[in-house]
């Protein structure tokens, strides 16, 4: 259960929010000029990042404002919250070391360490 820092209301429980998916996907200004592939890109294709992802959230049961969140999808840590229309902040995201991030053996192994 995430705790999300609404830019207006402060930290509130996840239950008050809805997630709007990947951020910074602008609706094209010139749809008629686009190919089917380009339209599909806007409509359906997603980066679906493992690691630092910029996404949209809405404080649906609070102030109803949309805002952006930078979240590490591998750990669910929220790294930053910023307003709609702002540029994504550059962040140290503690991304998984390998693309998949889990150590080689055992799903439980995310919890052990040799160090």
């Amino acid at each position: 259960m995430l705790l999300i820092n609404c830019p207006y209301c402060g930290e509130r429980e996840q239950e008050e929010f809805t997630c709007g998916g990947e951020a910074h996907i602008e609706r094209p200004q010139n749809p008629p000029d686009l190919t089917d592939d380009q339209w599909a890109d806007y409509l359906f294709l997603r980066q679906n990042i493992k690691g630092l992802q910029y996404e949209r959230w809405n404080h649906a049961f609070g102030c109803r404002q949309w805002f952006n969140v930078a979240r590490n999808t591998a750990t669910d840590e929220i790294l930053a919250v910023y307003n709609m229309g702002e540029k994504p902040p550059q962040l140290e995201s503690n991304d998984p070391l390998t693309p998949c991030g889990e150590p080689p053996i055992g799903s439980g192994n995310f919890s052990t360490s040799k160090k």
Binding site: C19, L45, T98, S107
Partner: protein, 420 residues
Amino acid sequence: MIKRPKKYSVFSLVKNALSYHENWQPAWRNPEIKKEYDAIIVGGGGHGLTTAYYLAKNHGIKNIAIVEKGWIGGGNTGRNTTIIRSNYLWDQSAAIYDHALKLWEGMSQELNYNVMFSQRGVMNVAHNLHDVRELKRRWNANRLNGIDCEWLSTAEVKKFCPVINTSPNIRYPVMGATLQRRAGTARHDAVAWGYARGADAMGVDIIQNCEVTGINMNNGNVTGIETTRGTINSKKIGVVSAGHSSVIAKMADIKLPLESRPLQALVSEPVKPIIDTVVMSNTIHAYVSQSDKGELVIGAGTDGYNSYSQRGGFNIVEDTIMAIVELFPLFSRMKMLRHWGGIVDICPDASPIISKTHINGLYFNCGWGTGGFKATPGSGWVFAHTIANDQPHALNAPFSINRFSSGELVDEHGAAAVAH
């Protein structure tokens, strides 16, 4: 020389018992990685293993590696609620899922490995007029597609599954259900192990603890993969990595129409047999069956955000349990024993992608989301065909990546809120 695992039977069990079980052979080898393979399958889940198995069996390609970052079957194959059915709405889906169901029916014998496929029937319950209409639509489509399906009245539902609450006075009364009798459950882990053993016996190298970290390409052709255990070359690479499909696609600069979401499930403590079918309710979101060990296996919903963390919010689990208690008030004093999550790769139309890509020799099989376990053998069958022939089998032609541009989607959302 490949040392074949011994055939399993009562006799082999007795024989081994007499030698104090000191002589069992590995079900699959732990092979050295070769420099090059005729085909590499990325992902040692059920779909990856069946792909390799059928590549070897149906297409004679035996020099294959399955590359798995962890342990085979540890992805969604090892964490699903094991519901198997083929009563899908659209012709395209019905065809591929029923092809899979037929393979399930002979799987234990074919593999000489008991996957405990239990055709205990799957009931999809209707709670309002809209559900009734939609389920009847599916029932009729199934019938004409040659897929067994029955419509049950409320009284028949009660008869078929006596523990369900069919009182008309509950908030979401049971207004009928479809029943597919050939549908049921299977022992999920055994599916992975059985196919692994079968593939291994045909010479397939199953390489565990080996994570793919890059895809090598040259002039629009794949040439191999980078892994945590070195480079492996091949001109054909089939990616079957479920929740991590986008991560691997990114290595080849491909964007997929996928979102990876947590999907949660749980089991109760084991009890003596109490429910001997599978009950699914999309409207109030409850899915339950009882496993061979006696636990109630319960599926919850997907969380509303992307995550690769194999866990989700408790609110989702709670909602599901409320629905279970609503439909089965007698389970109120039962207890949740363990809860877990998987990472499901969800497509906008809730149908899979089994497709070539614009890179020669690179194929993707993904997007099975919340419902691909049931398709495991069929998916491998058609994906093997696609890889071997560099073109889709008739059954997976509708599931190409291009459909997202053309608009020819196979929208199975109606089929289930979460399509187990």
